[in-house]
């Protein structure tokens, strides 16, 4: 395969991943690394490096659109970024010391978990419990626009959410993904933040988190320009177009199909890693 053919095929695949990822809200990054390693036999470290770059691009590219809706909470985001960026540095350092086989196994498990999460209804775990005093002191409680007008929300269990976010950052740095599924777990389940607020805020955080580990990847020589180019441009174009179409389509069925693809990729990734092919 020549560089030209390789670039065209990778760009096409990345475009599809970005498109489906943004249409389903499951993110394109999670299928990108298996796509590159399983189909094109790219070394997993190069694949993770390229994926990190595309994650920064999509997160930043989508932010302008998210901001208009008025859901994101900049204080929650910034505070939790302490945890995700430290986690991302940790994950990037881990990537250098663990074997590609272990990375493959962890990746497979995360894919299966993401697939499982995609079957769950996106529902608010809203409670009227009083907020965590720490959240109040940190000014995290906020208001978001709802159908019945502005609605207040309280933030709970800050230390637990913070710890989970460190884990999300570490996974992001190790696997080159946005770790959307873990972030949702931390913000929705642990901290009781309304779903819309947590998804938009987490989108803001993903770019900063990925940048923290991408710097380490770059200086270590894990980011190959000729691979990162079609991946970044393809995913970016796909996700921007996907976000445009999103408003007009019902995505529940697509979500299930895409979740199924993620599950299959997870099994394949586990199999390949355990049989020593990664």
């Amino acid at each position: 395969m020549t560089n030209l053919e390789f670039t065209a095929l990778v760009a096409l695949g990345s475009f599809t991943a970005g498109f489906l990822g943004s249409l389903t809200g499951l993110g394109g990054g999670v299928v990108l690394v298996p796509f590159l390693t399983l189909l094109f036999k790219v070394d997993i470290r190069y694949a993770v490096g390229a994926s990190l770059v595309s994650v920064i691009a999509t997160s930043s590219g989508a932010a302008a659109a998210y901001v208009k809706e008025g859901f994101s909470n900049i204080r929650i985001g910034m505070f939790l970024e302490i945890a995700t960026t430290l986690g991302a540095l940790f994950g990037a350092f881990l990537a250098a010391v663990v074997s590609t086989k272990s990375i493959g196994v962890i990746f497979g498990l995360v894919l299966l978990y993401s697939a499982y999460m995609s079957t769950k209804q996106q529902r608010d775990t809203y409670t009227d419990d009083p907020p965590d005093p720490l959240a109040t002191r940190l000014g995290m409680n906020g208001v978001y626009p709802s159908l019945t007008g502005p609605r207040e929300y309280h933030v709970h269990r800050v230390p637990l959410g913070f710890s989970l976010m460190f884990g999300a950052g570490a996974l992001s740095g190790l696997l080159g993904i946005g770790s959307g599924a873990v972030k949702v777990l931390a913000m929705d389940q642990a901290m009781g933040i309304p779903f819309k607020v947590s998804t938009t805020t987490s989108n803001f955080m993903i770019g900063v988190t990925a940048a923290a580990s991408a710097g380490v990847y770059l200086s270590r020589g894990y980011i190959d320009p000729a691979l990162a180019m079609p991946v970044m441009l393809g995913v970016l174009a796909g996700s921007l177009i996907g976000a445009r179409i999103l408003a007009k389509t019902k995505t529940q069925q697509l979500r299930i199909v895409f979740g199924g693809v993620i599950a299959l990729l997870g099994l394949e990734m586990l199999y390949q890693a355990l049989t020593g092919k990664i």
């Binding site: 940190l138 770019g207 900063v208 980011i223 320009p225 691979l227 180019m229």
Partner: protein, 128 residues
């Protein structure tokens, strides 16, 4: 009548959103230019990413990347675009620190600066 310029969270987030979009657009254009140069020159050579060799040092560190971009090397220019991309979230955090200072929210000025330093540590690691 006088107008006080107000730094509300909503306004800050709008500016940040536009800042991010501008950064990504710039990065994408530079990457596209570098990619075109690379493909014109090396498009017909065989691709190989199975073997992990790691990138040469002039594609790892900002000074090497600048050096190779100035010589209009395709791969160097792609890396330059990626550096712009990496700088985008860093700029956003720096701007957030500034905006929190305008709101006189010193706690979050400190939080933003801390995150900024972590990012700087990661990026400047590329200087060694």
């Amino acid at each position: 009548m006088f107008r006080v310029s107000e730094w509300t969270d909503q306004k800050v987030e709008t500016i940040i959103g536009n800042l991010l979009r501008a950064g990504v657009s710039l990065a994408a254009i530079v990457v596209l230019i570098g990619g075109s140069i690379f493909l014109v020159r090396h498009g017909l050579e065989p691709a190989n990413y199975r073997v992990f060799a790691g990138e040469p040092s002039d594609l790892r560190h900002w000074d090497g990347i600048a050096w190779s971009s100035l010589r209009l090397r395709g791969r160097g220019i792609i890396q330059l675009g990626l550096l712009f991309l990496l700088a985008t979230p860093v700029t956003r955090v720096a701007f957030a620190a500034f905006a929190f200072a305008m709101e006189r929210d010193w706690l979050y000025v400190a939080v933003s600066i801390f995150v900024f330093l972590i990012l700087l540590y990661s990026l400047l690691g590329s200087g060694f």
